[in-house]
């Protein structure tokens, strides 16, 4: 049985510190754009923390929700791609194959979570910021769609290492950068096909729900709602 990678995000733990956001930038060679580009809404965040206000002052509350690619089981973004740049892997990942992407941006329109970002220009780094680039991950070129991969490079590396040690992957062998960084432990990653994994156990909690569940996209991310 292939792994089915999934994530649980406990909104009761999430404090909106955004460590995940920077961790993701660092891990995945995500470019910062520029103030001008940012003003056009062209930032490249693969994960962002949504903030929703509730109520009026003084009975006001804010809720945070980290939103990243939900790695949907029935992903609206996948079938619309004419070149198979977006497809579903056997391990439940919603893959984005950069070299196949011709930049129709159809997938980004189809994505109800708006978590796909487009390289409007080829990214640039002011020297020597390019030295920070993670050699494990491609630097995407202009005209290519990208999004959260569940840090598939870490999954691949963990599989290679496990294979080298002649063993199966264990729960906790793979942690995407955001999960690794989350100080409050709000994010848990693992194999949903293994009923004993931490992520499976958490996903079964009554607090769990999927984002925009009614759309039938079958996200691999379960949100545990704030109590």
């Amino acid at each position: 049985m292939a792994h089915q990678w999934g994530m649980v995000i406990d909104l009761d733990r999430c404090t909106g510190c955004e460590a995940c956001v920077v961790a993701c930038h660092a891990e995945n060679n995500i470019a910062t754009v520029s103030p001008e580009e940012a003003a056009r809404g062209r930032t490249m965040h693969w994960i962002h923390v949504e903030r929703h206000w509730e109520g009026e002052y003084p009975n006001v509350r804010a809720r945070f929700r980290p939103v990243l690619c939900q790695q949907c089981g029935a992903a609206p973004c996948e079938p619309v791609c004419p070149t198979y740049a977006s497809y579903h892997t056997a391990e439940g990942l919603n893959a984005q194959v950069y070299n196949r992407c011709i930049g129709t941006r159809y997938c980004a329109n189809a994505c109800p979570y708006t978590v796909r970002v487009f390289n409007w220009f080829s990214p640039e780094w002011d020297k020597p910021l390019h030295l920070q680039l993670n050699p494990d991950v491609s630097v995407r070129e202009g005209g290519v769609m990208e999004k959260c991969t569940f840090c598939s490079q870490r999954i691949t590396a963990a599989e290679i290492h496990a294979q080298a040690e002649n063993r199966e992957l264990r729960d906790g062998d793979v942690t995407p950068a955001c999960v690794q960084s989350c100080p409050a432990g709000a994010m848990v990653f693992g194999d949903l096909s293994d009923p004993t994994s931490q992520v499976s156990r958490l996903a079964r909690l009554a607090r769990g729900s999927k984002l925009l569940e009614e759309l039938g996209t079958l996200p691999a991310i379960t949100y545990l709602e704030r109590e």
Partner: protein, 214 residues
């Protein structure tokens, strides 16, 4: 007759005006993300202008020529600073892994530094012209600027791990040709996607796109 030609002109003008209005006034008003220009400022004058960001690392092409070459998949033949002879080293009994140490452990095979070469060549064949070049590099404290022989364009987004392939029992020659027959390494295999896929399909290993493209 005159009447409707004027009407057409008016309609055209109206179209243009609508378009202009659309683009500059109506569409992107207010609440969106795009509120251009940033004008928060302090009263103190800014006395030095920040340096213009210089673009150094980019996947964009240096020239149109590069772009065309990449599009056509053309790779120029590397010219090595020293005519390293693979055949002799293999004949003398050296293993590939003696120098390419990373190949069993990580993604990259790696090339040893000048110092490593000099461990042997301090003595061995020290008088040969190519070895003298090597010694000259070593004396200057410089590494040899080897040229890559096998590589992919960045736009292919290919990530390749050597170690799993070595563990799977693949010989180096599968992808690099028989280096025991080569002097200076040349690109003797065309490492296309077809080449990789055929092997992956034959050996029933993953043909998921993201196995290699991530």
């Amino acid at each position: 007759m005159r009447g409707y030609s004027r009407a057409i002109i008016l309609a055209l003008i109206a179209t243009l005006v609508t378009l202009a209005g659309l683009s500059w006034a109506g569409i992107a008003h207010s609440r969106g993300k795009a509120i251009l220009r940033q004008t928060a400022f302090v009263q103190n004058p800014i006395h030095s202008v920040p340096a213009t960001p210089s673009s150094v690392f980019t996947t964009a092409h240096a020239s149109f020529n590069d772009a065309v070459r990449e599009f056509l998949g053309l790779q120029s033949t590397p010219v090595q600073p020293i005519a390293f002879n693979h055949r002799i080293h293999i004949q003398k009994g050296l293993q590939c892994t003696t120098c390419h140490t990373g190949v069993t452990q990580g993604p990259d095979a790696g090339i040893p530094s000048t110092n490593f070469c000099m461990v042997c060549h301090q003595v061995i064949a020290a008088q040969k012209p190519e070895i003298k070049k090597l010694a000259a590099y070593a004396a200057k404290g410089q590494d040899i600027p080897w040229q890559r022989v096998y590589w992919f364009y960045p736009s292919t987004h290919v990530r390749f791990w050597h170690s799993p392939h070595i563990r799977a029992g693949l010989g180096c020659e599968q992808c690099h040709g028989n280096l025991a027959q080569q002097t200076v390494a040349v690109r003797s295999k065309d490492l296309t996607m077809n080449f990789c896929l055929n092997c992956h399909v034959a050996k029933r290993v993953s043909v998921e796109c993201i196995t290699c493209h991530f």
